[in-house]
Symmetry: C2
Subunit: 481 residues, 2 copies
């Protein structure tokens, strides 16, 4: 369907497999390919191996990589090659690859892997990664994977899945170090040194709890290393840290980490008991995804579809374009009202898109700033009125400036000062409306509990087109005819 040429490097830089391997054998593998991205070179090698039917070689090439790099390669492959490779990997796939994949790609990979291999991989993961993978399965697969897990894993995953999507409860992992408040540093050290597999592989803070398992604060590992072993934990605890409720939205979790410069956070259930921890590496992903969502939604795309198949991409973008078609027809019907005017002064037809277009652009500027400021909690009820007033003045000022320029051009183009004046006036009106709409639409959506990024764009351009055409053609009808 899509003209998918196999990913080849441009001819001048096409080392053979042997070349690449010889150079890769050098100390610093990344420096061996100064002309080509290392991932691209490897992708090409693996693709070549798959095309030659040499799956052992394709497997080997991938298994050698860090899981993050392997995930990148798998993402960038063609779907058919990807399926073949994952099939060849089977149960040997590095479990860490799965949570690192783009959601869409992970969907395909999980489909190819099958329930048994998924269960084996999930068992080897931290509980937060396991939840990431399992929550993507359909309910039947999900049930089967969970059943295939050992009982002690199962309970934690079921607990996490009971929390709402995108909540702290889904992000957290159960593996953590919790110690009672009455211990000394020495007790804690002894516990750390004698407890084996039940502790997480890495941790940066110990959580101190009371007898009811309510968290009292954190002790950083660095602090623990630097004090005498008789010191009571109570003396070195940092109790200026609030625990995170498991139901908190992940966007708010991320903002708290960012503001407080945390590396890990204590997660509590509704009774205030410590049930898990969130680590900063997961927060990095959340910040990234939330920012991506806002950016793409403003542009009318629901998710990054760079790895989607063609028809999925078509489907997901078509809906938004249909809504746009409706609003465009609305704006067209406004123009239809003034057909008589356009027939008499045909120059208006050339000028009217300028008014609508600049209104749309100015409104989009305000919209992007407002949506971002809402997400960052920089725009709050306390300063909303002031920002609204500001946007109105900015719209007016930019409107006056652009109106002067555009009006002058129109005057020289068509030779009549009146047409320039009409253009200028319509522009001022539309830019003030655009500025106001750019802030009021996201503010209203936010107050209604709707993601302000998701539908703001449609409403805004519908408004600026309609107002732009109406103001310009209306003024023209009054003053030019």
């Amino acid at each position: 369907m899509t003209p998918e040429t196999p990913p080849k490097a441009s001819p001048e830089i096409k080392p053979t497999i042997e070349d690449i391997e010889a150079r890769a054998a050098a100390l610093d593998i990344e420096d061996a390919f100064p002309e080509e991205d290392f991932g691209d070179a490897l992708l090409r090698l693996i693709t070549a191996a798959i095309e030659d039917g040499d799956m052992t070689r394709a497997r080997e090439l991938l298994l050698d990589q860090h899981y993050a790099d392997a995930a990148d390669i798998i993402e960038r492959m063609q779907p058919d090659d990807r399926a073949q490779l994952v099939l060849a990997l089977g149960k040997d796939i590095d479990p860490d690859i799965l949570p690192a994949l783009d959601e869409e790609v992970r969907d395909q990979v999980l489909g190819v892997l099958g329930v048994q291999n998924i269960a084996a991989a999930v068992e080897a993961m931290d509980s937060d990664d396991a939840v990431t993978v399992i929550e993507q399965l359909d309910s039947d697969e999900r049930r089967r994977v969970i059943q295939a897990l050992p009982a002690e894993h199962r309970a934690g995953i079921e607990q996490a899945l009971a929390f709402p999507e995108h909540s702290a409860g889904r992000m957290m992992q159960r593996e953590m170090v919790a110690v009672p408040e009455f211990w000394t540093v020495g007790n804690a050290l002894h516990y750390l040194q004698t407890t084996g597999d039940d502790l997480p592989e890495d941790f940066y803070e110990l959580f101190v709890v009371d007898l009811r398992h309510h968290p009292l604060g954190k002790v950083s590992t660095a602090r623990l290393l630097r004090v005498r072993s008789e010191t009571p934990l109570r003396e070195i605890i940092d109790d200026d840290v609030e625990p995170i409720p498991a139901t908190m939205d992940r966007e708010e979790v991320a903002m708290t980490f960012r503001d407080r410069d945390w590396v890990s956070a204590m997660v509590v259930d509704e009774d205030g008991r410590l049930i898990g921890r969130i680590t900063v590496d997961d927060v990095l992903d959340v910040i990234d995804e939330e920012a991506e969502d806002d950016m793409l939604r403003l542009a009318g795309v629901s998710d990054s579809d760079i790895f989607h198949a063609v028809w999925q991409t078509v489907r997901s973008r078509f809906g938004w374009l249909c809504i746009n078609l409706c609003t465009a027809l609305m704006a067209a019907s406004v123009i239809g009202l003034f057909e008589g005017t356009i027939q008499q002064v045909v120059a208006l037809a050339a000028l009217m898109p300028i008014v609508a277009g600049l209104g749309g652009n100015a409104g989009t500027q305000t919209l992007a700033v407002s949506v971002r400021a809402l997400a960052m909690k920089e725009l709050m009820p306390g300063n909303a009125r002031r920002v609204i007033g500001k946007e109105m003045v900015v719209g007016l000022a930019n409107g006056l400036g652009l109106a002067a320029l555009a009006g002058t051009v129109a005057y020289f183009w068509f030779g009549t000062p009146l047409i320039g004046l009409v253009l200028a006036s319509a522009m001022v009106v539309n830019l003030v409306v655009a500025g106001l709409a750019g802030i009021l639409i996201p503010l209203s959506l936010d107050r209604l509990g709707v993601d302000p990024a998701i539908a703001s764009g449609v409403f805004l351009t519908a408004l600026t087109d309609t107002v732009g055409f109406f103001a310009f053609l209306g003024l023209a009808t009054v003053f030019l005819l």
Copy 2:
């Protein structure tokens, strides 16, 4: 200039100062204001105190807050109030507030604080925060602040400032724990327990170096706590971590942290010597800022100007709108070529913005996905050709779908099948062009070393408007006249 009403809560939720204080005295201060954001309530209190001229009280209210909350409040204040408050704080301002502020707000705050207070604050900061503040000063102030610093601080800051803006060298802090490879765990523990102020306040990893101070790997503090003190560091070192060159762009640093799930990274100079570390809390800010930049630039805004004064906002947005005016005039001149056609079939004037508008929207969808994928390195030479092909097919498919809908509507509206066919054909052409432009423009800019977010939008809408009008009116001229 701007209609700045003092930030007041809506009348139904306006507790008095006494109310708020009584409730704030309760155990959990945040829960005391369920109806109002705590920051908003505090902002209102501080503003009231400033208006009453009670600066002691305003100071006290702010000094009680966590630096992150204090920074939020200062950001949301009106510029005049902010200046008064900062003046009243003077040298007592919490140094941590400064790096946490929005750049624009920090600019004003630094201006009010004056060189002596800035130098005092900078002296108390980690070296990375100090660089963040100092790099924002103009060269004269910068020189004076640096001169006011103790010699040992000065050298590090001057070294960091010698690295390019937005590089790892500017992000890093010099405070870190580096230990020689021949030490045992016991040596390291002794060093940590006996070395006082020269160590950073918090750290999660020790960096192991050879005799030339080249980094060999990291040892996590958690690991150090769990092994016997006779263990040589060599045995527990994680040497699968590449150091970061000081010249690496901060966006790449952030991506590496995200992919590798790091909490800190070793930074090396051009000779490979360890000169500092980057911690994950700074990476959170970078990811946030870079994502914000991409989102706002796509919408034609250079920076978030939510905290900018009116005239600054006008100035920064006007440039982009002027460029848009030029491209809109270009598109208008294309329409001008077909004045004769429009005169004869005035319905064309109503329909032509549909073709241009939908092209712009479809192109923007592709653009947003491409810009994001470039930033995330998901779009690389290795898969670029495939993605280009895909976008062409997606454009064609969506074009055909929308064309069918729009053509049918136009047919029923104007009663002539031919006008529907012309509309439909122009739409298909424009959506294919839009899809191609949406990926080729950012790819080309990226290859030229220009930020693909920054100018893509102008080029794209200039193209989709021009092609849209030309295709529609051109086809109409051929088939309808």
